[in-house]
Each structure stands twice: as structure tokens, then as C-alpha cells.
């Protein structure tokens, strides 16, 4: 294992985060905090409880998950797309570094950033709404698994994309709608039965549901199913990455 290479990639990526701290960390935290202010404190106080939880508190896991998903994808996709775009990828490709080490470096950095942002949002949420975390270990598992999985997904997008427009298409047109419709702001039990069934095809439902369960022991789907679905998505991303490095897709001519 080329530990120095993993460390170099990780440090380089993290350095960019801290160099652009306003964009990387402060901006997502501020925008998510606005959700808490508007939907939690302002509108939330006039809304009914959901499954016995105040609406503001109900929102917290979904909003954290929304940030984790979008930030993981955005950080990891940009992390690998940028060296491809400016041409510095030649150095990684010509270095004695394995695909696994490359993925650990880039995905590890992207997932770390997401975890940092998720933790800051969680702490911020506590300022606006009453919070309780009944299963902190499960919460951590979901947080870490989701960060890694969606950072891998972002890494795949960063390799697939051949323009900045394509880099944004999947996060904006697929991930954000899936997250909004995946029970971040409501329980899927509030939907008509037919929409409940359709919603179960949305993978984000399982992430939000499992994550929310770790806070309040309420969920739209069984916690084990949520964990298995997260694991399945991780597996699918791993298979894709294996194929990418095996074939050199969009990396090697």
C-alpha cells in the first residue's frame, strides 16, 4: 500500500477545502441553517408534530442527509474532474499508485468534508430545534456509510463528466429532486398509498429513514432494510469504480 500517495492526495484535497472555506464549509452550513430558521423555527411552530416529533426536529436528519448527499457528490466529483480538466491527472496516472489508493485518497477527502459539514449542521440544528439522538452509533454508521457511498458516486460522475455542465447535471437534476422527494421534509406515510409505493423506488428514502430512526426511532422503512440498501448502493458504486479503473474509462486513452 502506497500510504504516502494516499496521504498526499488526501492532504492536497483537504487543503483546497480550507483554502476555499467560505465556499466549501460556511456556505452549505449557512444555507442549511436557513432551512432550520424558516421551516423549523418560523413555519415549523405552526405545523403539527410528525409521529410525535416537532416538525423542526423532524427536519434535522433529512436536512443533514440532504447536505451530506449533495456535498459528497459535489466534492468528490470536482476533486477528480478538476485534475482531468486542467491536465494534472497525468501525474496520478503515471505514479506508482493503485486504483484503490486513488479512490481512498479522493473519496476519503470528500467524505471527510461531508462529515465535517454534517457535524457542523447537526451542532447548528441544536441551536434552533430540540434534538435527541437515541442511537448515536447507528447515526454515525449511516453518516459515514452515506458519505463514503455518495463520495464514490460523485467520483464516478467526476470521471464520466467531460464538461462542467455535466458535472452539475446529475446532482441538480437527479439527486436534489430525489432527496426532496425522499422524505427529507415529510414522512412518506403522509402521501397517498400509490405515491408511497412509488417513493419506495427512491433510494434516498432508505437513507433518510434509517438516519431519522437513529435520532427518534421513527422510520418509513425498516432500519435493517435501510442499512442493506445503503450497503447495496455502496456495492454498486464499488463495481462501477472497479470497471472504470479496469478499462481506463475516461482516464486513459
Amino acid at each position: 500500500m502506497n500510504i504516502y500517495a494516499i496521504r498526499a492526495i488526501y492532504k492536497f484535497e483537504m487543503a483546497r477545502t480550507f483554502r476555499t472555506i467560505a465556499q466549501s464549509i460556511i456556505s452549505p452550513v449557512v444555507s442549511t441553517s436557513l432551512y432550520f430558521v424558516v421551516f423549523g423555527s418560523a413555519i415549523g411552530s405552526r405545523m403539527n408534530d410528525v409521529d410525535g416529533i416537532s416538525y423542526g426536529a423532524f427536519l434535522v436528519p433529512g436536512l443533514i442527509m440532504l447536505s451530506i448527499l449533495t456535498e459528497s457528490i459535489s466534492n468528490a466529483s470536482f476533486g477528480i474532474y478538476f485534475p482531468r480538466f486542467i491536465g494534472t491527472i497525468y501525474e496520478i496516472l503515471s505514479a506508482p499508485v493503485s486504483p484503490l489508493e486513488i479512490v481512498i485518497g479522493y473519496v476519503g477527502a470528500a467524505a471527510s468534508k461531508s462529515l465535517m459539514i454534517g457535524s457542523i449542521i447537526l451542532a447548528t440544528a441544536a441551536l434552533f430545534v430540540p434534538l435527541q439522538i437515541l442511537h448515536p452509533f447507528t447515526m454515525l454508521v449511516f453518516l459515514v456509510l452515506t458519505s463514503i457511498t455518495f463520495s464514490m458516486f460523485g467520483f464516478i460522475i467526476g470521471i464520466w463528466a467531460d464538461s462542467f455542465e455535466k458535472l452539475q447535471i446529475i446532482p441538480l437534476l437527479i439527486i436534489t429532486p430525489l432527496t426532496f422527494l425522499g422524505g427529507s421534509f415529510y414522512s412518506i406515510n403522509m402521501l397517498p398509498e400509490v405515491w408511497q409505493t412509488i417513493t419506495l423506488f427512491n433510494p434516498v428514502v432508505y437513507l433518510v429513514s434509517g438516519f431519522r430512526w437513529s435520532f427518534y426511532e421513527i422510520s418509513d422503512v425498516d432500519i435493517i432494510t435501510s442499512l442493506l440498501m445503503t450497503g447495496l448502493f455502496l456495492f454498486i458504486c464499488s463495481v462501477f469504480l472497479y470497471w472504470i479503473f479496469k478499462t481506463g474509462y475516461r482516464l486513459k486513452k
Binding site: 492526495i9 492536497f12 486542467i86 496516472l93 503515471s94
Partner: protein, 307 residues
């Protein structure tokens, strides 16, 4: 001298169907500077890219220091450093940070002493904390070389290293390359500047349309393929050559003011020249000065790729 890189039957056909390399066989000797010459699209960069692991070959085999570039890619790649043609740098990073990154990805522990020595050798020490975006084009080119040297490679690939840099900087680069050679680094250089190859290389390889059409020691090549000319500047212009000189490849130029004798540099024609000068004197032709000229590498190269 032992081979450090062995390229056997290497070929590359891109997905578009374009055959960039055709059955290349080449051995590169440890410690030498070999220059690969060829017109645009000849396959020079593809060859370098395959050896460095950036492009997948379609066929053939490459070993570096005895290690296969596919099976033993770690051991093989640890030995190489690459300076690509394009100025690809992390614009918002500092020089030191990019050097440290390069050393790290090549599996080497940080070494401040080596970092400092590299910065000084490339006259970048004053700029070590500057962001790359603030540097001039020539400085960026130095940064690219520094990055390639940051992990102390035994082999350095320089793909058009002086493209677009001014004359002074080019000479500076040549000095850097010479020092590297003195330290035992093997250098593979592609260039459009023939004078660069002429100045730097021990051996010359010519690639054209994906084929390696020639590899030769530079001096041997220039001797073998270089025609030589003896030019006599005459005291008085001559309109016709006397019959006694018809046995020699002579030509009157410059309105009869110069007499040019063309001969093969590879032949030992010194005796002929002595006889020629005697014959010229016997014909009553006098000259005030003489000079010899040899074909430049550029002329040799142009003749080769024209074929």
C-alpha cells in the same frame, strides 16, 4: 552501457482507428540522453505516454529497469518522472505544495533537503511560497520539471520541455538537463527544436507515421548522413570549370566567385581534397579563403521524414 528501458513490438491503435504506433522496438541505455524527433502526430507523445502508464498499449511490451510496466507497474513507475508537453499545473497551489504532492504520490517520504535543492537548482527558491498562477510561463515550465524531479527519478521523460520558452530560459533548461545527466539520470527528450537535439542528445531516434525509422548515435548519424562541402572563395570569378577538374563533384556558385566541392563526410577523402587543391592550383585558379560546411541535423531530419 546497460539498457534501462526495453520497448518490444509496441503498437497503439486508438478507438478512432488511428494507428499511432507501429511495432516499435527500442532500447534506451542507462545514463544517456536520447532525443526523439518527428513531425506533429508522429507518435512521440503516445510512445512516452504508454511507457509512463498514461495510455494503454494495443500490443507489445515495455520494461523499465527490468520491471514490466503493467505487471510490476509500481516498481517500474517509481523510477520515472514525466514532464508533459502541456503546462498542466495546479494554479492555486504554491510551488512547495505541488512539489510535496508529487513526491508523496510517488511513494516517497517528505525530504525538506531535497525539496530545497530542487528549488534552488531550478532557480525557484524565491518563488517557493508563490501560487503557481502568479508565475510566468517559463517559471511554470520549471515547476513542471521540479515536480517530475521531486521523487528523485532515475529516468526523466521530457516531452517538448522548451516549447514556447525564450532563448535564455531554453539554455538554462539545457544546463539543468546536462546536470541531471551528470548525476546519472537517463533522459528521454522529444523536441521540435532540432538544435536542441543536436546540442543535448547522445542518440537520436526519428519517428514518422508511428514508425521508428531510425535510432543512431548522434555523431554517427551526422557523419553517416551528413554531406560535407568544401567552399573555396576565389580571388577572381571563374565562368567555366577547366577540363582538368571534371573528375570532381564541383560546382560554381555566387556568380563564379565560389567553387563548391561536395563530398561524403563518411568517406576518408582527405587525399582527394589534397589532390583537388593541387588540380585547382594547376588549373591556375586562385582562392583567398576556404571553409567547410556539414549538413545540420535539421537537414538530415527533413530528408528522412520526406522519404
Amino acid at each position: 552501457m546497460t539498457s534501462i528501458i526495453k520497448i518490444e513490438n509496441l503498437s497503439k491503435t486508438y478507438a478512432s482507428g488511428f494507428q499511432a504506433l507501429r511495432n516499435i522496438n527500442l532500447e534506451i541505455r542507462e545514463g544517456e540522453i536520447i532525443a526523439l524527433l518527428g513531425p506533429n502526430g508522429a507518435g512521440k507523445t503516445t510512445l512516452i505516454s504508454i511507457v509512463c502508464g498514461i495510455v494503454n498499449p494495443s500490443g507489445g511490451r515495455v520494461t523499465i529497469g527490468g520491471y514490466d510496466i503493467v505487471k510490476d507497474y509500481r516498481a517500474a513507475r517509481t523510477m520515472i518522472g514525466l514532464v508533459p508537453q502541456e503546462l498542466a499545473t495546479d494554479a492555486f497551489e504554491t510551488v512547495t505544495a505541488t512539489f510535496a504532492f508529487s513526491r508523496g504520490v510517488f511513494g516517497k517520504k517528505a525530504d525538506p533537503a531535497h525539496l530545497e535543492a530542487t528549488l534552488k537548482a531550478l532557480s525557484l527558491y524565491d518563488k517557493k511560497d508563490s501560487k503557481i498562477i502568479t508565475l510566468s510561463g517559463g517559471m511554470k515550465r520549471r515547476v513542471m520539471i521540479g515536480k517530475a524531479l521531486s521523487h528523485e527519478p532515475r529516468i526523466l521523460f521530457l516531452d517538448e520541455p522548451t516549447a514556447g520558452v525564450d532563448v535564455e530560459l531554453r539554455k538554462d533548461m539545457w544546463n539543468v538537463v546536462r546536470k541531471l545527466k551528470e548525476s546519472g539520470v537517463t533522459i528521454i527528450l522529444t523536441t521540435h527544436y532540432i538544435d536542441e537535439a543536436e546540442e543535448m542528445a547522445d542518440r537520436i531516434g526519428v519517428i514518422n507515421k508511428g514508425e521508428l525509422i531510425l535510432v543512431e548515435d548522434k555523431d554517427v548519424l551526422m557523419q553517416k548522413l551528413g554531406e560535407k562541402r568544401l567552399i573555396l572563395h576565389l580571388t577572381k570569378p571563374v565562368t567555366d570549370l577547366p577540363a582538368g577538374l571534371s573528375a570532381y563533384r564541383l560546382e560554381l556558385q555566387n556568380q563564379g566567385k565560389s567553387l563548391v566541392y561536395t563530398y561524403d563526410a563518411n568517406q576518408s577523402e582527405s587525399a582527394d581534397i589534397a589532390h583537388l587543391l593541387d588540380a585547382i592550383a594547376a588549373a591556375g585558379i586562385q582562392f583567398k579563403d576556404l571553409e567547410t560546411r556539414q549538413n545540420s541535423l535539421e537537414e538530415i531530419f527533413v530528408n528522412l521524414v520526406k522519404k
